[in-house]
Protein backbone atom coordinates (compact mmCIF):
# COMPACT_ATOMS: atom_id res chain seq x y z
CA UNK A 1 0.00 0.00 0.00
CA UNK A 2 1.38 3.38 -1.01
CA UNK A 3 0.08 6.92 -0.73
CA UNK A 4 -1.21 7.16 -4.30
CA UNK A 5 -3.59 4.30 -3.73
CA UNK A 6 -7.39 4.39 -3.56
CA UNK A 7 -7.56 2.08 -0.59
CA UNK A 8 -5.04 4.20 1.32
CA UNK A 9 -6.59 7.56 0.48
CA UNK A 10 -10.23 6.68 0.85
CA UNK A 11 -10.23 4.09 3.60
CA UNK A 12 -6.99 3.72 5.55
CA UNK A 13 -6.27 7.43 5.99
CA UNK A 14 -9.86 8.52 6.79
CA UNK A 15 -10.38 5.69 9.30
CA UNK A 16 -7.05 6.48 10.95
CA UNK A 17 -7.91 10.19 11.05
CA UNK A 18 -11.37 9.64 12.54
CA UNK A 19 -10.08 7.23 15.20
CA UNK A 20 -7.27 9.68 15.93
CA UNK A 21 -9.56 12.63 16.50
CA UNK A 22 -12.16 10.79 18.55
CA UNK A 23 -9.35 9.76 20.91
CA UNK A 24 -9.09 12.67 23.31
CA UNK A 25 -6.02 11.71 25.26
CA UNK A 26 -2.51 12.19 23.76
CA UNK A 27 -1.54 8.65 24.75
CA UNK A 28 -4.50 7.11 22.90
CA UNK A 29 -3.76 9.28 19.89
CA UNK A 30 -0.21 7.99 19.79
CA UNK A 31 -1.55 4.46 20.16
CA UNK A 32 -3.84 4.95 17.15
CA UNK A 33 -0.95 6.30 15.06
CA UNK A 34 1.36 3.47 16.15
CA UNK A 35 -1.24 0.84 15.38
CA UNK A 36 -1.92 2.27 11.92
CA UNK A 37 1.79 2.72 11.26
CA UNK A 38 2.49 -0.93 12.02
CA UNK A 39 -0.55 -1.93 9.97
CA UNK A 40 0.67 0.20 7.07
CA UNK A 41 4.09 -1.40 7.22
CA UNK A 42 2.70 -4.93 7.56
CA UNK A 43 0.42 -4.30 4.60
CA UNK A 44 3.41 -3.38 2.46
CA UNK A 45 5.86 -5.98 3.72
CA UNK A 46 4.62 -8.23 6.53
CA UNK A 47 7.68 -10.47 6.67
CA UNK A 48 10.04 -7.52 7.17
CA UNK A 49 8.05 -6.16 10.10
CA UNK A 50 10.02 -8.17 12.71
CA UNK A 51 13.22 -6.64 11.30
CA UNK A 52 11.85 -3.13 11.75
CA UNK A 53 10.73 -3.92 15.30
CA UNK A 54 14.07 -5.53 16.19
CA UNK A 55 16.04 -2.60 14.75
CA UNK A 56 13.89 -0.17 16.72
CA UNK A 57 14.29 -2.15 19.96
CA UNK A 58 18.07 -2.52 19.63
CA UNK A 59 18.62 1.13 18.73
CA UNK A 60 16.36 2.22 21.57
CA UNK A 61 18.37 0.16 24.03
CA UNK A 62 21.76 1.27 22.63
CA UNK A 63 20.79 4.94 22.66
CA UNK A 64 20.00 4.66 26.36
CA UNK A 65 23.53 3.32 26.87
CA UNK A 66 24.97 6.14 24.74
CA UNK A 67 23.22 8.66 26.97
CA UNK A 68 24.34 6.80 30.11
CA UNK A 69 27.02 7.84 32.57
CA UNK A 70 29.65 5.24 31.66
CA UNK A 71 31.83 6.76 28.86
CA UNK A 72 33.31 3.44 27.73
CA UNK A 73 29.89 1.80 27.53
CA UNK A 74 28.53 4.83 25.67
CA UNK A 75 31.25 4.64 23.05
CA UNK A 76 30.85 0.88 22.67
CA UNK A 77 27.08 1.28 22.31
CA UNK A 78 27.53 3.89 19.58
CA UNK A 79 29.95 1.71 17.63
CA UNK A 80 27.64 -1.32 18.02
CA UNK A 81 24.62 0.69 16.92
CA UNK A 82 26.24 2.09 13.80
CA UNK A 83 27.67 -1.29 12.81
CA UNK A 84 24.24 -2.79 13.37
CA UNK A 85 22.40 -0.22 11.24
CA UNK A 86 24.93 -0.18 8.41
CA UNK A 87 25.14 -3.97 8.68
CA UNK A 88 21.38 -4.17 8.16
CA UNK A 89 21.73 -2.20 4.95
CA UNK A 90 24.71 -4.21 3.75
CA UNK A 91 23.05 -7.57 4.36
CA UNK A 92 19.58 -6.74 3.10
CA UNK A 93 20.41 -4.33 0.31
CA UNK A 94 23.92 -5.02 -0.94
CA UNK A 95 24.60 -8.73 -0.25
CA UNK A 96 23.90 -9.86 -3.82
CA UNK A 97 25.74 -6.88 -5.33
CA UNK A 98 28.80 -7.46 -3.15
CA UNK A 99 28.87 -11.18 -3.92
CA UNK A 100 28.61 -10.57 -7.67
CA UNK A 101 31.48 -8.08 -7.57
CA UNK A 102 33.55 -10.35 -5.35
CA UNK A 103 32.99 -13.18 -7.83
CA UNK A 104 33.95 -10.95 -10.74
CA UNK A 105 37.16 -9.88 -8.99
CA UNK A 106 38.29 -13.28 -7.76
CA UNK A 107 36.87 -15.54 -10.43
CA UNK A 108 34.99 -17.50 -7.78
CA UNK A 109 31.35 -18.37 -8.22
CA UNK A 110 29.79 -17.95 -4.81
CA UNK A 111 26.03 -17.99 -5.07
CA UNK A 112 24.58 -14.54 -4.54
CA UNK A 113 21.94 -14.51 -1.79
CA UNK A 114 18.51 -13.54 -3.04
CA UNK A 115 17.12 -11.33 -0.30
CA UNK A 116 14.11 -9.16 -1.01
CA UNK A 117 14.71 -5.53 -0.02
CA UNK A 118 12.82 -4.88 3.23
CA UNK A 119 10.37 -2.00 2.83
CA UNK A 120 11.87 1.37 3.70
CA UNK A 121 15.12 -0.11 5.05
CA UNK A 122 17.27 2.56 3.37
CA UNK A 123 15.28 5.28 5.05
CA UNK A 124 14.72 3.91 8.52
CA UNK A 125 18.33 2.79 9.01
CA UNK A 126 19.48 6.33 8.19
CA UNK A 127 16.97 7.78 10.62
CA UNK A 128 18.25 5.40 13.30
CA UNK A 129 21.90 6.30 12.63
CA UNK A 130 21.07 10.00 12.89
CA UNK A 131 19.30 9.33 16.19
CA UNK A 132 22.30 7.50 17.71
CA UNK A 133 24.72 10.23 16.65
CA UNK A 134 22.45 13.04 17.80
CA UNK A 135 22.18 11.39 21.21
CA UNK A 136 25.96 10.95 21.29
CA UNK A 137 26.49 14.60 20.35
CA UNK A 138 23.91 15.69 22.92
CA UNK A 139 21.75 17.32 20.28
CA UNK A 140 18.83 15.42 21.72
CA UNK A 141 18.25 13.34 24.87
CA UNK A 142 17.60 9.62 24.42
CA UNK A 143 13.91 8.73 24.25
CA UNK A 144 12.67 7.14 27.48
CA UNK A 145 9.51 5.52 26.20
CA UNK A 146 9.83 2.61 23.79
CA UNK A 147 6.33 3.07 22.39
CA UNK A 148 7.11 6.68 21.53
CA UNK A 149 10.40 5.62 19.95
CA UNK A 150 8.68 2.90 17.95
CA UNK A 151 6.19 5.49 16.76
CA UNK A 152 9.09 7.64 15.59
CA UNK A 153 10.69 4.72 13.72
CA UNK A 154 7.52 3.34 12.16
CA UNK A 155 5.56 6.59 11.61
CA UNK A 156 3.75 5.75 8.38
CA UNK A 157 4.06 9.09 6.59
CA UNK A 158 7.87 8.79 6.46
CA UNK A 159 8.92 5.17 6.98
CA UNK A 160 8.72 3.88 3.43
CA UNK A 161 10.36 6.59 1.34
CA UNK A 162 11.26 9.54 3.53
CA UNK A 163 11.73 12.40 4.09
CA UNK A 164 14.68 11.42 6.30
CA UNK A 165 12.97 12.81 9.40
CA UNK A 166 15.27 12.95 12.42
CA UNK A 167 14.23 12.24 15.95
CA UNK A 168 15.19 15.79 16.95
CA UNK A 169 12.76 17.13 14.28
CA UNK A 170 9.78 15.47 15.93
CA UNK A 171 10.80 14.72 19.54
CA UNK A 172 8.48 17.42 20.93
CA UNK A 173 5.63 16.44 18.63
CA UNK A 174 5.88 12.80 19.72
CA UNK A 175 4.69 14.08 23.10
CA UNK A 176 2.39 17.01 22.50
CA UNK A 177 0.73 18.02 19.27
CA UNK A 178 -1.57 20.96 18.72
CA UNK A 179 -3.69 20.52 15.62
CA UNK A 180 -5.62 23.47 14.27
CA UNK A 181 -8.13 23.68 11.44
CA UNK A 182 -5.36 25.40 9.50
CA UNK A 183 -3.14 22.32 9.93
CA UNK A 184 -5.90 20.10 8.57
CA UNK A 185 -6.50 22.39 5.60
CA UNK A 186 -2.78 22.72 4.86
CA UNK A 187 -2.33 18.95 5.22
CA UNK A 188 -5.16 18.02 2.86
CA UNK A 189 -4.04 20.67 0.34
CA UNK A 190 -0.52 19.31 0.38
CA UNK A 191 -1.81 15.77 -0.13
CA UNK A 192 -3.86 16.94 -3.14
CA UNK A 193 -0.86 18.69 -4.69
CA UNK A 194 1.42 15.70 -4.12
CA UNK A 195 -1.16 13.29 -5.50
CA UNK A 196 -1.62 15.45 -8.59
CA UNK A 197 2.14 15.61 -9.17
CA UNK A 198 2.37 11.84 -8.93
CA UNK A 199 -0.76 10.56 -10.65
CA UNK A 200 -1.19 13.22 -13.31
CA UNK A 201 2.32 14.40 -14.17
CA UNK A 202 4.79 11.70 -13.09
CA UNK A 203 2.72 8.75 -14.29
CA UNK A 204 1.92 10.34 -17.65
CA UNK A 205 5.56 11.39 -18.13
CA UNK A 206 6.61 7.82 -17.38
CA UNK A 207 4.76 6.83 -20.56
CA UNK A 208 7.05 9.09 -22.61
CA UNK A 209 10.19 7.81 -20.89
CA UNK A 210 9.14 4.23 -21.55
CA UNK A 211 8.42 5.03 -25.20
CA UNK A 212 11.78 6.75 -25.78
CA UNK A 213 14.09 4.64 -23.60
CA UNK A 214 12.16 1.37 -23.64
CA UNK A 215 13.43 0.20 -27.03
CA UNK A 216 16.88 0.07 -28.60
CA UNK A 217 18.83 2.95 -27.05
CA UNK A 218 21.61 2.70 -29.62
CA UNK A 219 19.18 3.64 -32.38
CA UNK A 220 18.07 6.90 -30.72
CA UNK A 221 19.02 10.19 -32.31
CA UNK A 222 21.19 12.67 -30.40
CA UNK A 223 18.21 14.83 -29.54
CA UNK A 224 16.19 11.73 -28.66
CA UNK A 225 18.72 10.81 -25.95
CA UNK A 226 18.63 14.30 -24.46
CA UNK A 227 14.86 14.47 -24.69
CA UNK A 228 14.36 11.09 -22.98
CA UNK A 229 16.71 11.99 -20.12
CA UNK A 230 15.14 15.44 -19.64
CA UNK A 231 11.65 13.91 -19.50
CA UNK A 232 12.93 11.34 -17.00
CA UNK A 233 14.37 14.12 -14.83
CA UNK A 234 10.93 15.77 -14.76
CA UNK A 235 9.25 12.43 -14.08
CA UNK A 236 11.56 11.75 -11.13
CA UNK A 237 10.97 15.22 -9.78
CA UNK A 238 7.18 14.92 -9.82
CA UNK A 239 7.28 11.35 -8.57
CA UNK A 240 9.51 11.97 -5.58
CA UNK A 241 8.54 15.52 -4.70
CA UNK A 242 4.89 14.43 -5.06
CA UNK A 243 5.53 11.62 -2.64
CA UNK A 244 7.28 14.01 -0.25
CA UNK A 245 4.39 16.49 -0.48
CA UNK A 246 1.99 13.72 0.46
CA UNK A 247 4.19 12.59 3.35
CA UNK A 248 4.46 16.14 4.68
CA UNK A 249 0.71 16.70 4.23
CA UNK A 250 -0.31 13.46 5.95
CA UNK A 251 2.05 14.19 8.83
CA UNK A 252 0.60 17.70 9.15
CA UNK A 253 -2.92 16.30 9.64
CA UNK A 254 -1.61 14.52 12.73
CA UNK A 255 0.28 17.55 13.98
CA UNK A 256 3.79 16.67 12.80
CA UNK A 257 5.86 19.26 10.94
CA UNK A 258 8.21 17.33 8.68
CA UNK A 259 11.22 19.06 7.12
CA UNK A 260 10.87 20.03 3.46
CA UNK A 261 12.47 17.68 0.94
CA UNK A 262 12.36 19.70 -2.30
CA UNK A 263 12.62 23.38 -3.18
CA UNK A 264 12.21 23.77 -6.94
CA UNK A 265 15.56 22.14 -7.78
CA UNK A 266 15.49 23.08 -11.48
CA UNK A 267 15.93 26.80 -10.75
CA UNK A 268 19.46 26.04 -9.54
CA UNK A 269 22.44 27.97 -10.92
CA UNK A 270 25.09 25.53 -9.72
CA UNK A 271 25.09 21.76 -9.15
CA UNK A 272 25.84 22.36 -5.46
CA UNK A 273 22.65 24.42 -5.32
CA UNK A 274 20.71 21.67 -7.11
CA UNK A 275 21.57 19.34 -4.25
CA UNK A 276 20.47 21.91 -1.70
CA UNK A 277 17.07 21.81 -3.39
CA UNK A 278 16.69 18.12 -4.35
CA UNK A 279 16.08 15.43 -1.69
CA UNK A 280 17.15 17.99 0.91
CA UNK A 281 16.88 15.68 3.92
CA UNK A 282 19.18 13.06 2.37
CA UNK A 283 21.80 15.67 1.47
CA UNK A 284 21.59 17.07 4.99
CA UNK A 285 22.08 13.57 6.39
CA UNK A 286 25.29 13.02 4.44
CA UNK A 287 26.51 16.52 5.26
CA UNK A 288 25.95 16.17 8.99
CA UNK A 289 26.91 12.54 9.51
CA UNK A 290 29.47 11.68 6.84
CA UNK A 291 31.21 14.75 5.40
CA UNK A 292 33.11 15.54 8.58
CA UNK A 293 34.23 12.00 9.36
CA UNK A 294 37.76 12.39 10.72
CA UNK A 295 39.83 10.43 8.22
CA UNK A 296 43.46 10.16 9.39
CA UNK A 297 42.54 12.22 12.45
CA UNK A 298 40.92 15.20 10.71
CA UNK A 299 38.10 15.71 8.26
CA UNK A 300 39.58 15.86 4.75
CA UNK A 301 37.87 17.96 2.14
CA UNK A 302 38.28 15.86 -1.00
CA UNK A 303 38.07 12.52 0.73
CA UNK A 304 34.92 13.65 2.52
CA UNK A 305 33.47 14.83 -0.76
CA UNK A 306 34.28 11.52 -2.42
CA UNK A 307 32.79 9.54 0.47
CA UNK A 308 29.58 11.58 0.43
CA UNK A 309 28.99 11.21 -3.29
CA UNK A 310 30.06 7.60 -3.50
CA UNK A 311 27.62 6.85 -0.67
CA UNK A 312 24.85 9.00 -2.13
CA UNK A 313 25.15 7.02 -5.36
CA UNK A 314 25.32 3.61 -3.73
CA UNK A 315 22.45 4.45 -1.38
CA UNK A 316 20.16 4.77 -4.39
CA UNK A 317 20.69 1.19 -5.41
CA UNK A 318 22.99 -1.80 -5.51
CA UNK A 319 24.22 -1.14 -9.01
CA UNK A 320 27.30 0.54 -10.48
CA UNK A 321 25.33 3.07 -12.51
CA UNK A 322 24.15 4.63 -9.24
CA UNK A 323 27.73 4.88 -8.00
CA UNK A 324 28.76 6.50 -11.30
CA UNK A 325 25.75 8.81 -10.96
CA UNK A 326 26.76 9.90 -7.45
CA UNK A 327 30.40 10.44 -8.36
CA UNK A 328 29.36 12.30 -11.50
CA UNK A 329 27.54 14.90 -9.41
CA UNK A 330 30.40 14.91 -6.89
CA UNK A 331 32.80 15.73 -9.72
CA UNK A 332 30.85 18.83 -10.73
CA UNK A 333 30.59 19.94 -7.11
CA UNK A 334 34.36 19.54 -6.83
CA UNK A 335 34.88 21.60 -10.00
CA UNK A 336 32.57 24.32 -8.72
CA UNK A 337 34.45 24.34 -5.43
CA UNK A 338 37.80 24.66 -7.21
CA UNK A 339 36.54 27.51 -9.38
CA UNK A 340 35.05 29.28 -6.37
CA UNK A 341 31.67 30.92 -5.84
CA UNK A 342 32.87 34.42 -6.64
CA UNK A 343 34.22 33.49 -10.04
CA UNK A 344 31.12 31.40 -10.84
CA UNK A 345 28.93 34.40 -10.07
CA UNK A 346 30.68 36.36 -12.82
CA UNK A 347 29.55 33.84 -15.45
CA UNK A 348 26.41 35.12 -17.25
CA UNK A 349 23.20 33.74 -15.74
CA UNK A 350 21.91 32.02 -18.92
CA UNK A 351 25.20 30.14 -19.22
CA UNK A 352 24.94 28.93 -15.61
CA UNK A 353 21.35 27.80 -16.18
CA UNK A 354 22.27 26.00 -19.38
CA UNK A 355 25.26 24.30 -17.72
CA UNK A 356 23.26 23.03 -14.75
CA UNK A 357 20.32 21.82 -16.85
CA UNK A 358 22.62 19.90 -19.21
CA UNK A 359 24.56 18.31 -16.32
CA UNK A 360 21.32 17.35 -14.56
CA UNK A 361 19.83 15.88 -17.74
CA UNK A 362 22.85 13.65 -18.34
CA UNK A 363 22.78 12.72 -14.64
CA UNK A 364 19.23 11.43 -14.85
CA UNK A 365 20.11 9.42 -17.93
CA UNK A 366 22.88 7.73 -15.92
CA UNK A 367 20.35 7.15 -13.17
CA UNK A 368 17.88 5.51 -15.56
CA UNK A 369 20.11 2.91 -17.19
CA UNK A 370 21.03 0.20 -14.71
CA UNK A 371 22.48 -2.08 -17.42
CA UNK A 372 26.05 -1.11 -18.37
CA UNK A 373 25.59 -1.80 -22.10
CA UNK A 374 22.49 0.37 -22.37
CA UNK A 375 24.12 3.07 -20.25
CA UNK A 376 27.11 3.06 -22.59
CA UNK A 377 24.83 3.34 -25.64
CA UNK A 378 22.98 6.23 -24.03
CA UNK A 379 26.17 8.14 -23.16
CA UNK A 380 27.54 7.62 -26.66
CA UNK A 381 24.19 8.61 -28.14
CA UNK A 382 24.18 11.94 -26.29
CA UNK A 383 27.16 13.05 -28.33
CA UNK A 384 26.37 11.34 -31.61
CA UNK A 385 28.65 8.38 -30.88
CA UNK A 386 26.18 5.84 -32.26
CA UNK A 387 26.33 7.31 -35.75
CA UNK A 388 22.70 8.40 -35.66
CA UNK A 389 21.38 11.73 -36.94
CA UNK A 390 21.02 14.72 -34.65
CA UNK A 391 17.27 14.87 -35.00
CA UNK A 392 15.31 11.65 -34.68
CA UNK A 393 12.57 12.16 -37.23
CA UNK A 394 9.25 10.53 -36.62
CA UNK A 395 9.41 9.04 -33.11
CA UNK A 396 10.65 12.22 -31.47
CA UNK A 397 8.34 14.48 -33.44
CA UNK A 398 5.43 12.20 -32.67
CA UNK A 399 6.23 12.18 -28.96
CA UNK A 400 6.71 15.94 -28.83
CA UNK A 401 3.52 16.79 -30.70
CA UNK A 402 1.47 14.18 -28.87
CA UNK A 403 2.54 15.39 -25.43
CA UNK A 404 2.84 19.13 -25.95
CA UNK A 405 0.43 20.11 -23.18
CA UNK A 406 1.78 17.56 -20.74
CA UNK A 407 5.37 18.70 -21.30
CA UNK A 408 4.42 22.37 -21.05
CA UNK A 409 2.56 21.72 -17.78
CA UNK A 410 5.48 19.68 -16.42
CA UNK A 411 8.00 22.44 -17.16
CA UNK A 412 5.65 25.09 -15.77
CA UNK A 413 5.00 23.27 -12.48
CA UNK A 414 8.64 22.28 -12.04
CA UNK A 415 9.41 26.00 -11.74
CA UNK A 416 8.10 28.26 -8.94
CA UNK A 417 5.43 29.82 -11.17
CA UNK A 418 2.46 29.07 -8.90
CA UNK A 419 4.08 30.54 -5.74
CA UNK A 420 5.00 33.62 -7.78
CA UNK A 421 1.43 34.12 -9.02
CA UNK A 422 0.09 33.54 -5.49
CA UNK A 423 2.47 36.10 -4.05
CA UNK A 424 1.47 38.70 -6.65
CA UNK A 425 -2.23 38.01 -6.09
CA UNK A 426 -1.97 38.20 -2.32
CA UNK A 427 -0.63 41.75 -2.39
CA UNK A 428 -4.19 43.12 -2.27
CA UNK A 429 -7.01 42.12 0.15
CA UNK A 430 -9.31 41.10 -2.71
CA UNK A 431 -6.46 39.10 -4.27
CA UNK A 432 -5.92 37.32 -0.98
CA UNK A 433 -9.51 36.05 -1.01
CA UNK A 434 -9.25 35.13 -4.68
CA UNK A 435 -5.97 33.29 -4.10
CA UNK A 436 -7.50 31.26 -1.25
CA UNK A 437 -10.52 30.43 -3.38
CA UNK A 438 -8.45 29.45 -6.41
CA UNK A 439 -6.16 27.28 -4.30
CA UNK A 440 -9.10 25.41 -2.76
CA UNK A 441 -10.83 24.91 -6.10
CA UNK A 442 -7.66 23.76 -7.85
CA UNK A 443 -6.76 21.38 -5.02
CA UNK A 444 -10.25 19.90 -5.12
CA UNK A 445 -9.94 19.53 -8.89
CA UNK A 446 -6.55 17.85 -8.49
CA UNK A 447 -8.05 15.38 -6.05
CA UNK A 448 -10.96 14.56 -8.38
CA UNK A 449 -8.83 14.21 -11.53
CA UNK A 450 -6.21 12.13 -9.69
CA UNK A 451 -8.90 9.87 -8.28
CA UNK A 452 -10.44 9.33 -11.71
CA UNK A 453 -7.00 8.54 -13.10
CA UNK A 454 -6.30 6.11 -10.27
CA UNK A 455 -9.57 4.31 -10.95
CA UNK A 456 -8.97 4.05 -14.68
CA UNK A 457 -5.21 3.67 -15.01
CA UNK A 458 -2.98 0.85 -13.92
CA UNK A 459 -1.05 1.55 -10.76
CA UNK A 460 2.48 2.98 -10.83
CA UNK A 461 4.44 2.56 -7.63
CA UNK A 462 6.52 5.47 -6.31
CA UNK A 463 10.03 5.07 -7.68
CA UNK A 464 11.75 6.02 -4.46
CA UNK A 465 10.05 3.20 -2.55
CA UNK A 466 12.52 0.91 -4.37
CA UNK A 467 15.59 2.55 -2.85
Amino acid sequence: MLFADLFFLYLFLPVCTVLYFISKNAGYRNAVLLLFSLLFYAWGDLKSLPLLLAAAALNFFLARRIAGKNPAAAKAALVCGIILDIGLLVVFKYAAFLTENFNALTGLSLSAPRIALPLGVSFYTFRLISYLLDVRWEKTPAERSFSRFLLFVSLFPCTVAGPVVRYADVSEELRIRQITVEDLYAGVSRIAVGLGKKVILADLLSGITAEIFGGDVASLSVLGCWYGAAVYALQMYFDFSGYSDMAIGIARIFGFRFPENFNYPFVCKTIAEFWQRWHITLGAFFRDYLLYVPIFGSPRKYLGLFLVWFSTGLWHGASWNFVIWGLYFGLFILLENLIGKKRIKKIPLPVRHLYTKLVITVGFGIFYFTEPARLGAFLAGLFGGNGNPFFGGETLLHSLSGNLFLLAAAILFSLPVVPWIKKKLEETPAGLVLSGLLTTVSNAALLVVSTVLMITAESHPFLYANF
Partner: protein, 81 residues
Protein backbone atom coordinates in the same frame (compact mmCIF):
# COMPACT_ATOMS: atom_id res chain seq x y z
CA UNK B 1 44.46 33.59 25.58
CA UNK B 2 41.68 36.18 25.65
CA UNK B 3 38.46 36.08 23.69
CA UNK B 4 39.51 39.25 21.87
CA UNK B 5 42.78 37.66 20.78
CA UNK B 6 40.88 34.66 19.39
CA UNK B 7 38.62 36.96 17.36
CA UNK B 8 41.61 38.90 16.02
CA UNK B 9 43.27 35.65 14.94
CA UNK B 10 40.05 34.27 13.46
CA UNK B 11 39.37 37.47 11.48
CA UNK B 12 42.80 37.12 9.88
CA UNK B 13 42.29 33.42 9.22
CA UNK B 14 38.82 33.85 7.69
CA UNK B 15 39.99 36.80 5.58
CA UNK B 16 42.74 34.58 4.15
CA UNK B 17 40.40 31.66 3.43
CA UNK B 18 37.61 33.68 1.84
CA UNK B 19 39.88 36.19 0.19
CA UNK B 20 38.17 39.32 1.52
CA UNK B 21 38.17 41.46 4.65
CA UNK B 22 36.04 39.64 7.26
CA UNK B 23 35.06 40.77 10.75
CA UNK B 24 33.51 38.00 12.82
CA UNK B 25 30.97 38.36 15.62
CA UNK B 26 29.75 35.72 18.07
CA UNK B 27 26.46 35.47 16.16
CA UNK B 28 28.07 35.22 12.69
CA UNK B 29 26.97 32.05 10.89
CA UNK B 30 27.95 30.35 7.63
CA UNK B 31 25.03 32.13 5.93
CA UNK B 32 26.66 35.53 6.57
CA UNK B 33 29.83 34.73 4.66
CA UNK B 34 29.70 34.06 0.97
CA UNK B 35 31.47 30.85 0.15
CA UNK B 36 31.26 29.32 3.61
CA UNK B 37 29.40 26.17 2.63
CA UNK B 38 29.56 22.68 4.11
CA UNK B 39 32.62 21.78 2.03
CA UNK B 40 34.53 24.98 2.80
CA UNK B 41 33.70 24.35 6.46
CA UNK B 42 36.32 21.58 6.36
CA UNK B 43 38.99 24.11 5.34
CA UNK B 44 37.84 26.47 8.08
CA UNK B 45 38.03 23.71 10.70
CA UNK B 46 41.41 22.54 9.45
CA UNK B 47 42.91 26.05 9.58
CA UNK B 48 41.48 26.78 13.01
CA UNK B 49 42.82 23.47 14.36
CA UNK B 50 46.30 24.21 13.02
CA UNK B 51 46.32 27.83 14.16
CA UNK B 52 45.32 27.07 17.75
CA UNK B 53 46.85 23.60 18.12
CA UNK B 54 43.58 21.89 19.00
CA UNK B 55 41.05 19.41 17.64
CA UNK B 56 37.31 19.58 17.17
CA UNK B 57 35.20 16.49 17.59
CA UNK B 58 33.07 15.39 14.64
CA UNK B 59 29.88 16.15 16.53
CA UNK B 60 31.10 19.66 17.25
CA UNK B 61 31.92 20.27 13.60
CA UNK B 62 28.47 19.06 12.52
CA UNK B 63 26.47 20.91 15.14
CA UNK B 64 28.41 24.18 15.47
CA UNK B 65 25.86 26.92 14.88
CA UNK B 66 27.82 30.16 15.02
CA UNK B 67 31.27 31.65 15.45
CA UNK B 68 30.58 32.22 19.16
CA UNK B 69 30.36 28.45 19.74
CA UNK B 70 33.59 27.92 17.82
CA UNK B 71 35.36 30.54 19.95
CA UNK B 72 34.17 28.91 23.17
CA UNK B 73 35.60 25.57 22.05
CA UNK B 74 38.88 27.22 21.04
CA UNK B 75 39.18 28.94 24.41
CA UNK B 76 38.53 25.66 26.19
CA UNK B 77 41.12 23.72 24.20
CA UNK B 78 43.71 25.96 22.55
CA UNK B 79 47.31 24.96 23.15
CA UNK B 80 48.86 27.65 20.90
CA UNK B 81 48.78 31.38 21.59
Amino acid sequence: MTKEAVYVALNQLFSDIFDEEITLFPETTAKDIEGWDSLEHINVIHSVERRFGMKFKMGEISTMKCVGEMVDLILARATKE
